[in-house]
């Protein structure tokens, strides 16, 4: 019995990574859910919007680094974030102008818009590879760790170490700030209120004099901002490759659907549910259990429910279960 070591091992391999990953997924899902709530289609290009936003952030970061500007112990990319958001927002607004507006005027069905977004996704995907290439890019600078496993062991004298990467801490803090700002914006400001009104009942909103073009524009800008932040945080914490963001689309939509599409609170809850399910189902519990149970009962096997290769299957399974039993999600979004 060694509860402390078990807790530390759990925190090091499940809780901390799950928390950071969950925050990244939640930010991505927030953007997707906003688009769904207001523009009424599932934006498949969201993953690649994240990638493109990160690309812009990397380019600006390189510019800053070339000029000798850094952000102390924080990654320079955070400094580049506002510029990257502006560039990404300009890009998606351009896309809306060139592509989506046409279909909106036609009053196209949501399914058509989904396929349109799929086309946009391929274009963005290709464009992004043109700009930044397909190789792995590491753009994290500044301090690497809040606490390393070795230091933790030395401090506490435990056998297990707990490592908290700086990027994990930054991810969680940034996510909290961003989510706070978003909810304040949606609840308190006039534009936010008009967005919610537009989402709840489009006709009524139009009758009461809300400018639909403005609502659409603000939605795109916010979604672009959320996508860029999520993308940069993910890239800082893990690694950046132009095509890996495409793979994030599944957990992001799983999170949005679990929480209830169109419901911002649901997207956040969904993000953490998906992230922790992925990590916990594929984690080998042998070490933690060995600490917890008496020696005679220590497990021989790995006590792993599923091999890590099947990580994506977890998102799929959650998606299917929710769609079968709770089609509107936990927080009662618009039906998926």
């Amino acid at each position: 019995m060694d509860i402390l070591n078990a807790l530390v091992a759990f925190a090091n391999f499940v809780f901390v990574p799950g928390l950071a990953y969950g925050a990244q997924i939640a930010l991505g899902a927030l953007g997707a859910t906003l688009i769904y709530g207001i523009l009424r289609f599932s934006n498949f290009a969201h993953g690649d919007t994240m990638a493109l936003g990160t690309t812009f952030a990397i380019l600006v970061t390189w510019g800053f680094q070339a000029l000798g500007i850094t952000f102390g112990f924080l990654p320079t990319a955070l400094l580049a974030l506002p510029f990257a958001i502006i560039m990404t927002a300009a890009f998606v607004l351009g896309t809306d102008r060139v592509v989506y507006r046409f279909y909106r005027r036609q009053k196209a069905a949501p399914t058509i818009l989904v396929i349109v977004s799929l086309g946009v996704m391929f274009i963005m995907n290709g464009l992004n590879r043109f700009i930044i290439g397909v190789g792995e890019i590491n753009f994290a600078d500044g301090a690497r760790f809040v606490i390393t496993a070795g230091d933790f062991r030395a401090m506490t004298g435990l056998t297990e170490g707990l490592a908290i990467k700086a990027t994990q801490a930054i991810t969680v803090v940034t996510a909290v700030i961003v989510v706070g700002l978003l909810f304040w914006f949606l609840q308190k400001t006039r534009t936010g209120k008009s967005m919610r009104a537009f989402s709840d009942n489009e006709d009524l909103a139009l009758l009461s004099g809300i400018n639909p073009d403005r609502v659409v524009q603000v939605t795109w800008i916010i979604a672009a901002g959320l996508a860029t932040i999520a993308g940069v945080l993910y890239g800082l914490d893990k690694s950046f490759k132009a095509f890996t963001y495409f793979q994030l689309l599944l957990p992001i939509f799983a999170a949005a659907v679990v929480g209830g599409l169109g419901n911002p609170l649901g997207a956040i809850a969904g993000g953490f549910i998906v992230a922790f399910s992925e990590v916990m189902v594929t984690y080998a519990w042998k070490k933690v259990l060995t600490y917890l149970v008496p020696e005679s009962m220590a497990p021989d096997g790995l006590v792993q429910l599923m091999s890590t290769d099947y990580k994506f299957a977890v998102s799929f399974t959650i998606l299917i279960i929710v769609l079968l039993f709770l089609p509107t999600g936990i927080f009662k979004g618009k039906s998926a």
């Binding site: 091992a9 391999f13 490592a163 984690y283 080998a284 890590t308």
Partner: protein, 394 residues
């Protein structure tokens, strides 16, 4: 044209001398496909060796070797089998240098070479599965099996006092074969493998893979992957979470990019890579420069050596019939005898004719073990200050 005329005149002249014949050897490697960048040099080296033999005029009383190229495609077994059929039935080759990739080599061996009784010497197939393949004594390779790398790695680990390892491999035939070889060899020597799990290349995040590896535990983590791919991600995530601090690095993880990306934390990790320390390799590199091929290209030295083995085995048997010379291949390749290096084929042919024992070393330090595959030389290294420092050769 002039050269061709000369060559044909020469061959007619030679053909007319008593007992001399034109011995065709197939070069069955992937001129198209995933390793096409290697095969140009491989074929050039093989043909260079044939030229050296022909120039000496000593093979079987003035017989000559004639190359016939065929494309194995590296991945398409059906195409490789068809190409091999053509070599044997229509061109009438008496031996095949090839195949190249393990999959097609196995297919050609079973479907064409064995039924027709033709000897194959592969310069580049490394799959352990080929060691146990039924070959009627017809299949040899100048490339070492990955099983051999597993043995070498297990030896190194044992010497370092490692009792248990966690093992992860890139999800491919190469990774799987190598990881099984390492695991089997290590367990046979009394070690424990706590986990043997695959990882996919090209992912952004390997923290959950590392979490499983860490849960299984072990003195060190052996990463049978690629240095620019998942292998690097696994090492980075292991160091970040403090799961492992020392790594065992097989050949796929050797390259300057790795210490560059990981930094000083990689110091103290060790492993091995197939590399020859023999003087023969330097000789062939020099000869290649003059003849216009790059012997540093992987498996080029092995290609030269494959042809040399054919010629010397035929000389030793006094016959170009596969059934006669197949048994001689092991004899001339291994000790005892006078050591033979690249550029000394004429001397070797003379010695063999005189009945003197030879030990063909060649460019890649050829020593055939087990079912006729290269023992392989491995450079054991340890990473110190971001450099792969050579510890010893095995």
């Amino acid at each position: 044209m002039k050269k061709l005329l000369l060559a044909s005149t020469a061959s007619v002249l030679l053909a007319s001398t008593a007992g001399a014949e034109e011995i065709k050897l197939g070069i069955l490697i992937g001129f198209t496909g995933p390793i096409e960048s290697l095969t140009a040099d491989m074929a050039a080296a093989a043909e260079f060796a044939m030229k050296e033999v022909n120039d000496s005029g000593l093979l079987l009383d003035g017989s000559t070797l004639v190359p016939v190229r065929a494309d194995s495609t590296c991945i398409d077994s059906a195409a490789a089998t068809a190409a091999a059929e053509r070599l044997i039935t229509s061109d009438g080759v008496l031996g095949i240098v090839g195949g190249d990739c393990s999959g097609v080599t196995g297919a050609v061996l079973q479907n064409v070479a064995r039924p027709n009784g033709i000897v194959m010497i592969s310069p580049s197939a490394t799959s352990p599965a080929l060691s146990s393949a039924e070959d009627d004594g017809l299949f040899f390779r100048t490339a070492p099996s990955d099983a051999r790398e597993g043995e070498v790695m297990a030896d190194i680990l044992m010497e370092k006092g490692v009792k248990s390892i966690a093992l992860t491999y890139t999800n491919s035939d190469y990774g799987k074969g190598l990881s099984e070889a390492i695991a089997n060899a290590f367990i046979a020597k009394g070690g424990t493998v706590t986990i043997n799990a695959s990882h996919e290349d090209g992912k952004a995040d390997y923290s959950s893979e590392v979490a499983a590896l860490a849960a299984a535990g072990g003195d060190l983590l052996v990463v049978a992957g690629y240095l620019d791919q998942g292998g690097k991600g696994i090492i980075q995530a292991s160091l970040d979470t403090g799961a492992f601090s020392t790594f065992g690095l097989p050949g796929g993880m050797v390259g300057d990019n790795l210490p560059l990306a990981i930094g000083p934390a990689l110091d103290g990790s060790y492993g091995q890579v197939a590399q020859s320390d023999g003087s023969g390799s330097a000789t062939l590199i020099e000869m290649g420069k003059e003849a216009g091929f790059n012997a540093v290209t992987p498996y080029t030295m092995e290609s030269y050596d494959a042809v040399a083995l054919f010629a010397l085995a035929m000389q030793a048997a006094g016959s170009s019939k596969p059934a006669d010379y197949a048994a001689k291949v092991m004899e001339i390749a291994n000790a005892p005898g006078e050591k033979i290096y690249p550029g000394e084929l004429a001397k070797a042919l003379e010695l063999v004719k005189a009945g003197v024992d030879i030990d063909y070393e060649g460019a890649s330090s050829v020593e055939l073990i087990g079912p006729g595959e290269s023992a392989g030389r491995y450079r054991q290294f340890e990473i110190k200050g971001g450099k792969y420092e050579t510890v010893t050769f095995r």
